[in-house]
Structure formats: C-alpha cells, structure tokens
Symmetry: C2
Subunit: 249 residues, 2 copies
C-alpha cells in the first residue's frame, strides 16, 4: 500500500466549473472554514487564472494548491468516501443527507482516518446522473422549493460552514464585554438606590400606592442590561448631571 | 398605532453596500431561503442596477422590492428587534450569538409577531461601532480565525440558511428512491438463495469449513444496499447472464 498522509478534512472537487470567479469565491469560502484541498475536474477557465485569484480575496494558498484532473475518476482516486451535492437527485436510488447530517458523518470519517471528498457540479447543470451514480451519498440542502438553485461557491460555503460548526465549541450565546466584566450586583443596587432616592426627592414617586410598582418597573429596566462597571459609572454620571441641572434650573 | 402587516420574516438591511454584484448575489441568497425584504442604506451603485440584476440569477422579485434609505435609522424605523452581523465585535458590550442560535430567536420573534431585522455592513469594513451600538445583539459566525472575512452575500446566505433550517422538517437522512421503494426482504433473500445455489454449483463454495463465513460475507455485501425491486431484478439478470456465459463457455 502506498503511504498517504492521514485524512484531516474532506476534499472539495469542482466538476467542470465554468466561471473563474466561482472558483475564486469557492477558494475563499473553503478557507473561511479551514478547508484547503481543492480539486478541479476539467475547469473551463485557463488555469491558473488571474480572475480566480482576484475573487479569492486572499485565499491564495487554496488556489495555489488546487490540483487539476482530466477525469472525475482521477480526481477521486485516493478517496474512500464520496459525497455528491445535488438539489435534484431524481430517478436515483441513493441515500440523501442534509449538510448538517453530512458534516457529522464527515467528522466521523476523518476521525476514523477515512478520506472523504465532496463533488460539486457545473454552475448551470449541476452534477449529471453518471457522476451522482458514483457517490456513496447525496448531500442536498433544504431550500426554498420555488427558488432552489444555489450559486456554486454558496453551495461550497454551506458545506464548509456545517463542517466547521460540527467541531466548533463557540457558545451559542455569550455576552461580549471586551475587557470589562459584568458589574457585581452591589454596584447596580447602589445605582438603583441612588436613583430611587433622587426620584423620591424630585417627587416622581410621590403617589404612595403607585410607588412599589414604579420601583419594580425601574429595577426591571436596569436589571436586564447586564451592565459593566464602566456602564454603571456612566449611569451614575448621567444621574449626577441631571440632578445638578435640576438644582441649577 | 399605525396598521402594519404581521411580521413573517426578518428584514435584510445592507448598510452602504459597495458592489452591485454583491447586492445581486445577496438577493439570490435571500430568495434561496425564502427571504424577500431587502433594504439598502446608501448603496454605492446607482439604483436600480443592471449589474445587480444580472448577478441575482432570477431573484428579481427581491431586487424589485428592495427599498433604498438615506440613513440606518430610517431603514430600521418599523422594526422592533435589530441584530447586527460582525466578526469583530470588539470593545462593545453586546450579546453575541451564533447564526444558529439567532435563527431560533428570529423564529420566536416572528411567532410572537415581533418584527426583526439584520444589519450587514459594507464589504471592506463591516459595520462600524456606531451601527453596532444600536443593535440588540450581534450575530457572529464561528469561522477560521486566520481567514475570517466572509463575502457579504455569503454572510447573508448563512443567516438565511439557518433561518430556513430552523423551521424545516426535511429528514436529516433519507433514502431517495424515486418512485421505486426498497424491495421486500423476501425478494432480496430469493436473489441471495439463487446466488448461493449458483456458487455451490460452480464450486466457489466448495471448502466446507469456509462456506458459512463466505455466505455471511456475501449476504452482508448485498444486504446493506437497500435495493429496490428493479435493482434486485437487475442483479437477477446479471446472475442469469453470467451463469449462461459460463455454461456456454
């Protein structure tokens, strides 16, 4: 057996891409999600292509490393599992998976050192049935049924996106607060106490039976902001300014 | 209060888009996932734009319905919740969510008849902090940290994709078999029995202590294919042809 580097990511195989800009934007989309193994089967543009380079927006290492093949068979020769992308897998008996499901399978393949690849067809026609027939499974993204044709690079982007998300640990929701953490509650409470004192002083809370509900509402407004220390200080400053202005006025 | 149509989907707001083709490909990406409310704040290209139309690949109803505004404030005036997209929400205290998490929130907003919108910044710079400051939350897609700049239409595509998937019921994995269902097991078994008979007849299974394992292996190969009736008939035909050829030979 020939020595091969371990599988680390799926190969992206463009079958007869027609437009250089789509190859360039594909390279960009790939690198956005850490994919670098680009293979071109009979590309229509002359190769290498300046136009592809211009549209790759800096993903040069993907374009420079792209390999050109004369047939699909040669392009997938070293691969062990092949997915084909299609939104019209008509008249074929073939397992069809969503991009999200495929991403989990691709991660499992790579973890087991199985080398996967993904086929994308020409812009106008997509993959023909002869190409689809060779694939282990078809990846089909759920789309608007009345406008389902994805741009080539957009289709690559969705697969790359799901591939990346499948191993990404970013919190689904986080408070980004730069270098300033959320204030301790005691700082928020001291601001609220001061605000309520000033509002009592000004007469804003003068109707006794309304006062408890008004205070609850005010506390609710400021408590859901998850403010930083700096932001609480800003509100203190605003309060001071407004009180001083009232006293001056 | 002014009468408004019920919220049904998020508005897509491009702030100062620079390139007509990006507006066109944005329109296509939107319609791929059923989004139609496109708003442009101070677009650089003359509007309407033939170049945008050419790159929209048929998403004319999105372009034709696009509204142009002179300020971000006017563009979001009728909205109730605003998300900003950014991969660099530096120095801002702001909730940051992934596209997938945002999609769930967007669906919840629309279900509650709350009108959401999503801001996308200019191609080179992205949204400035003055724009981000006005948003309820920031959507940031996990990307390759060393090559994280998404094309404008690609960023719109990811949001539209997640929006669509959040309400899509497509099976993650399915066997697409056109009009031909998977064969009943009895048809597969009758093929396997016939194959084994022929292999016994030819002497292929002649070593008695090997025979059970060989039969298990042969059954395993053909049993994982989930073949249709037609495919089983094709295998019967192949078997007949090969047996006849052997008898002729």
């Amino acid at each position: 057996m020939r020595e091969r580097p371990p599988a680390s990511q799926p190969a992206i195989i463009l079958v007869e891409p027609q437009l250089a800009e789509n190859i360039g934007t594909t390279a960009r989309a790939m690198l956005n999600f850490g994919l670098t193994d680009l293979r071109l089967v009979n590309p229509k543009p002359d190769w290498p292509s300046d136009r592809a380079k211009a549209t790759a927006s800096g993903a040069d290492r993907v374009l420079d490393g792209a390999r050109v093949f004369r047939s699909l068979g040669e392009a997938i020769a070293d691969l062990q599992v092949v997915y084909a992308t299609s939104n019209r897998p008509r008249d074929l008996v073939k397992r069809v998976v969503t991009p999200r499901h495929a991403a989990g399978e691709l991660r499992a393949h790579v973890a087991a050192d199985v080398r996967p690849g993904i086929l994308f067809g020409p812009e106008r026609t997509g993959l023909v049935n002869d190409d689809l027939a060779l694939a282990d499974a078809v990846i089909s993204a759920p789309v608007n049924p009345s406008f389902g044709s994805l741009n080539l690079a957009q289709a690559v982007l969705l697969i790359g996106y799901e591939w990346f998300q499948a191993a990404d640990a970013t919190a689904a929701e986080a408070l980004h607060n730069g270098d300033s953490p959320v204030a301790d509650r005691t700082h928020l409470m001291s601001f609220l106490n001061r605000l309520e004192f000033e509002l009592d002083d000004s007469g804003f809370l003068r109707v006794p039976h309304m006062r408890p509900a008004m205070i609850r509402n005010i506390r609710a407004i400021f408590s859901r902001m998850a403010m930083t220390d700096q932001e609480v200080r800003t509100l203190h400053g605003i309060l001071t300014e407004l009180v001083t202005k009232r006293m001056r006025g």
